[in-house]
Symmetry: C2
Subunit: 227 residues, 2 copies
């Protein structure tokens, strides 16, 4: 049985790491069962065998794996008889870019979410999160998140490449999703998990895709607490 | 013989449309010979049979095609025995996203290039370009381009997803390029064609990829006048 250390809030069923969600969906795509272990930022000891301090961490037998792209590539190679995460051909190389663009969504999203994340955290994580993030942002969580309504139009404009692609096809991988979709969805699931703030307009093709993603695998992502 | 209407400057050999370059390289990838016709912004009559007023316009027999993505998809379907532009499998759907991200590069690049473009234009295009662009920008070409050195770090930071991908692999499509690369390269070739301003740092993996792209097909892109 595979084991995934999965970032959780005060409510252990609230899983909110964008990178862990990529792997949750990749595992479901491969049809692999996984035991998920709720993990908090300050739980460094639990994942020490991975050689670093961030999740996702996947344990497969005696292998400890970290970094979402490394884990996805590992799953594709270790379970080649399961449905492909990358769609064959040049797929893996092409999807590397979707994953990199997804990585870049955290920066523009965080000023909408940082204060709400704090409210969802387990008590043990609160001081760590506030101190580390305020040092990084150079301001308080409250000031960093303030005035987000005024910044919304700019954020939405930045999603133009996602919107254009999804105006032509239901998923980034075409008629059915693959890791390109899981990588990009992770950050939207992160936002949904921590904040009632609506980043997407209701009539945005990106919102329609997000809904399709929430429906996948029997509503796997939808079942997790969110807004 | 295929015919491509290809945006040109005062020097008819200076081809500078990012979208035309995508198609030039796609045609070379397919091994298809093409007659390129130098075209200017004000030459609307020459491409009227395409039903609109922008290049690239590709003529294949009695078919007139426009829009770079439509043309690339047409070439893939019409010439299936030639090397694939999308790499098979889910490739075409996946590359749609690279093309959409490439489309979004024009916005951040134009404030570096607009004034230099004007200097490269044929006399007949100058008034048209200045008036239409100044109306769109809400300011003069000169004011729009001013202070570009100070904006360079921000522009380069925005290329992070390209840089991350190219740190792992030589081309967006993997070991060899495909339309994902041609789409993203078009805007860098546009910049090179019109302006001596160096958008990329010499040690940027994106610059190393740009050099590899200039080398393709016997230096097809490098032979075009540029800086």
């Amino acid at each position: 049985m595979l084991r995934l250390y999965d970032l959780a809030g005060a409510d252990p069923s609230r899983r909110f790491s964008p990178y862990c969600w990529r792997i949750r969906l990749a595992l479901a795509h491969k049809g692999l069962e996984v035991e998920t272990v709720p993990w908090r930022f300050t739980d460094k000891a639990a994942i020490a065998p991975s050689g670093q301090g961030k999740v996702p961490v996947l344990v497969d037998g005696d292998r400890w794996l970290c970094e979402s792209w490394t884990i996805a590539s590992y799953l594709e190679d270790a379970y080649p008889d399961r449905p492909s995460l990358f769609g064959g051909g040049a797929g893996r190389a092409l999807v590397r870019f979707h994953s990199a663009v997804a990585d870049s969504l955290g920066g523009p999203m965080l000023p909408f979410l940082a204060r709400d994340i704090f409210d969802r955290l387990a008590e043990a994580d609160r001081d760590y999160f506030r101190q580390s993030r305020e040092a990084r942002f150079g301001t308080t969580l409250e000031a960093f998140t303030e005035g987000r309504e005024a910044r919304l139009a700019g954020f939405r404009a930045g999603l133009a490449p996602l919107r254009a692609t999804l105006s032509d096809q239901p998923f980034f991988a075409g008629e059915a999703p693959n890791y390109a979709d899981y990588a990009l969805f992770g950050h939207f699931q992160w936002a949904r998990a921590v904040s009632p703030f609506q980043l997407l307009a209701a009539d945005d093709p990106v919102a329609a895709w997000r809904k399709r993603m929430l429906d996948l695998f029997g509503g796997l992502a939808r079942r997790s607490p969110g807004y």
